[in-house]
Symmetry: none
Subunit: 410 residues, 2 copies
């Protein structure tokens, strides 16, 4: 067998779209100037990809799992465990984990702000007082994330992820009581409720909240868990394929999934996971990471934000900024690298949320089959030789092209 | 999330074909004038669909189950249960059911006519005398369908659908003895055989047959079961997706499947399920049904009949009549509706039966991606952005486009 190649996978989060009236019924990808993306399309092969399956609306978590080769139907029960890993916790198989918010309630338990005035400081101090509690023989692990975000992990025997959210996902209503979705989850629900009440007691007169009051800020006087999930058995990409992996991306959830996959999650100066991110810096970091890693994964979140916010004009700008970064990749492209550029899901500006439309995908590298597609957009790529693939196919295709796939049979 | 849209699915039964010599090697869809179908193709997106999977020859039952989102590999063991529901019986999970014919045998049990002279009258009177029998502790349910058709249901413990047909599917041979296909099905086979012998006794001198003899008609002197299947657990589309559903179609089997799916099965004056059906009336009924339902399903059988009869000329005419109906749909098209037009299987006039060739599919609706395909036929649609999908994908794709799909993940 010939020498293995390096793999670069670039996920343009939520960038895929539908025709937009204000763009003359073009998609943002069609409307934008993107010479570099088009160059890669012209010299590579293209197609459409269903991140999960046709018509299925992916979350960012399920789609990223699929893109990294994990079957979400087998490993995904809820986002909690991936958020928990994202904030830096080490989970064990069987742990039940929740995404949490620091929130503000009034004396009657009515939620006044689901983000406690977008609290930024003091959350680690609060988290220390909630972490390590013992409830019903179980260990409670709690850690703050960025701003109002946190993660709760329950560790012990007999836990179940089949429980409802405490976060009511609305304000001016009372927070919900955690309910079991099957009888075996009663104990888990009881402990979640006990934890929530305990958080109220501990936070009521907490030093951080006394300080916030003085500053005229809303107190973080309750923890609202949601997104229950059980931590699955996940084999790292190194264990599965012998790949030394690096990941670049600002979003906690994506970073969590990459950590689970055993990747080195790199920090990039100026990369924020927001619209203001320094894309060029991320592109340069990806090239640098390829020197020391077999597989480099990069997520760029900005397109998804424009989709959620319904901003077609901004989304066109984001495509053009991404294309500029692709110029850096093109210029520094290391020979003997296989690259895929795709999206984790469609986020149409006209819908404002993820949809189940397929996303464009291109694969580039020297010596591979290439097709007649010259434009990287949702319509043009359908004429490409990749035809219509699934998210879980992508890494396998890249392993094949990089001479890293095991032969099935003899 | 934006507002949900309505869904219209039109299934042109067996309309897909292969090139026909007498049509200058065009398919009937290619040979016919069909401005309305082409208009929808031009303004929508197209592709090919394998109703079950590539190369698998679908029955009408398995393909319709797939189109309604049920995995035929999981719910289908034989056509009996769907025929039984189609004739109006209420089945329970675990019932084993058979499609039956009223037939004519001679005194030695040789089948002379598998349809008892295409008997039309008196079948309900005969059915009453067979319904409600008790055999081996089991309850026997029997009901006539249209003309020579009927359904047999066995209800009780320890039944198995793994038994052979009694109907020999040929004349001038003796009818078959029902055989178990595995040891556990012995009891079921015994009861089927007992029922067949009982039917001979009861029908021998039945009043209906005395009358038929006087009129010089063949007697219905035996019931021939076939198509054994076990009634599966089927969740209605309303329970699965919250859809209020209506179905329009004349064929018993299709009506049965739609009833199972919890749809309101509508009657249309002039609609027969045959070549003489009033297609325009069906089109108008579909538009009307969309006012009160979320999902309207319509089957038009005529193309399949031409395929089975080997009539290319008639099939071209059927396409043109369908196209006229599509003009009515086009004119009255309710905004905020997602429509799919497809076929449940290919029925080539040169073969005279269903084949496993993929079928064309188009999806139309405002604001969605569209492609360059301008002709709705088996060859042109392959250039479309739907690429090649499976039958079970179709409803999920429509749920996504109608803003009715649940997100998988966060």
């Amino acid at each position: 067998m010939v020498a293995p190649k390096k793999i670069l996978m670039i996920v343009l989060d939520g960038l895929a779209d539908r025709p937009v009236a204000e763009l003359g019924n073009k998609t943002p990808l069609q409307a934008a100037s993107k010479p570099n993306l088009n160059w890669f399309a012209e010299h590579g092969k293209c197609g459409l990809m269903d991140p999960i399956a046709p018509g299925i609306r992916p979350g960012s978590d399920t789609s990223h799992l699929a893109l990294l080769g994990y079957d979400p139907d087998k490993v995904y029960t809820g986002r909690g465990p991936f958020e928990a890993v994202g904030v830096g916790l080490s989970l064990e198989e069987g742990d039940v984990a929740f995404r949490c918010n620091f929130a503000t309630i009034d004396e009657n338990g009515i939620v006044k702000d689901r983000r406690a005035g977008r609290i930024k400081e003091g959350t680690s101090q609060i988290a220390k007082d909630l972490d390590g509690l013992e409830m019903g023989g179980l260990k409670v692990i709690f850690k703050e994330g960025t701003e109002h975000r946190a993660a709760l992990v329950l560790r012990g025997e007999g836990l179940s992820p089949e429980v409802t959210d405490v976060d009511p996902h609305a304000v001016d209503v009372k927070y919900d009581v955690c309910q079991p979705l099957d009888p075996e989850a009663q104990r888990t629900a009881d402990i979640v409720n006990e934890f929530v009440e305990e958080s109220r007691k501990i936070l009521k007169n907490h030093e951080v909240n006394r300080r916030r009051k003085e500053e005229g800020k809303l107190p973080a006087n309750i923890i609202l868990p949601r997104g229950s999930g059980v931590f699955p058995h996940i084999q790292t990409l190194e264990a599965k394929y012998g790949l030394k992996c690096a990941a670049i991306g600002g979003v906690t959830l994506v970073r969590g999934i990459c950590k689970l996959a055993g990747m080195d999650v790199l920090d990039v100066k100026g990369a924020t996971g927001g619209l203001d991110t320094d894309m060029d810096a991320k592109g340069r970091k990806a090239l640098e990471a390829l020197e020391s890693h077999d597989f480099v994964f990069m997520n760029i979140k900005a397109g998804d934000i424009c989709g959620h916010d319904g901003r077609a004009d901004l989304k066109v700008e984001v495509v053009e900024r991404i294309d500029k970064m692709m110029g850096i990749i093109r210029e520094g492209y290391p020979e003997d690298t296989v690259m895929a550029v795709t999206s984790d899901h469609t986020t149409p500006v006209a819908v404002g949320d993820h949809t189940g439309d397929p996303v464009p995908v291109l694969i580039y590298g020297k010596g591979f089959r290439f097709d007649q597609v010259k434009d990287f957009d949702e319509i043009s790529v359908a004429q490409g030789i990749l035809s219509r693939i699934k998210g879980t196919d992508l890494l396998q295709i890249l392993l094949n092209l990089s001479n890293r796939a095991e032969k099935f049979g003899a």
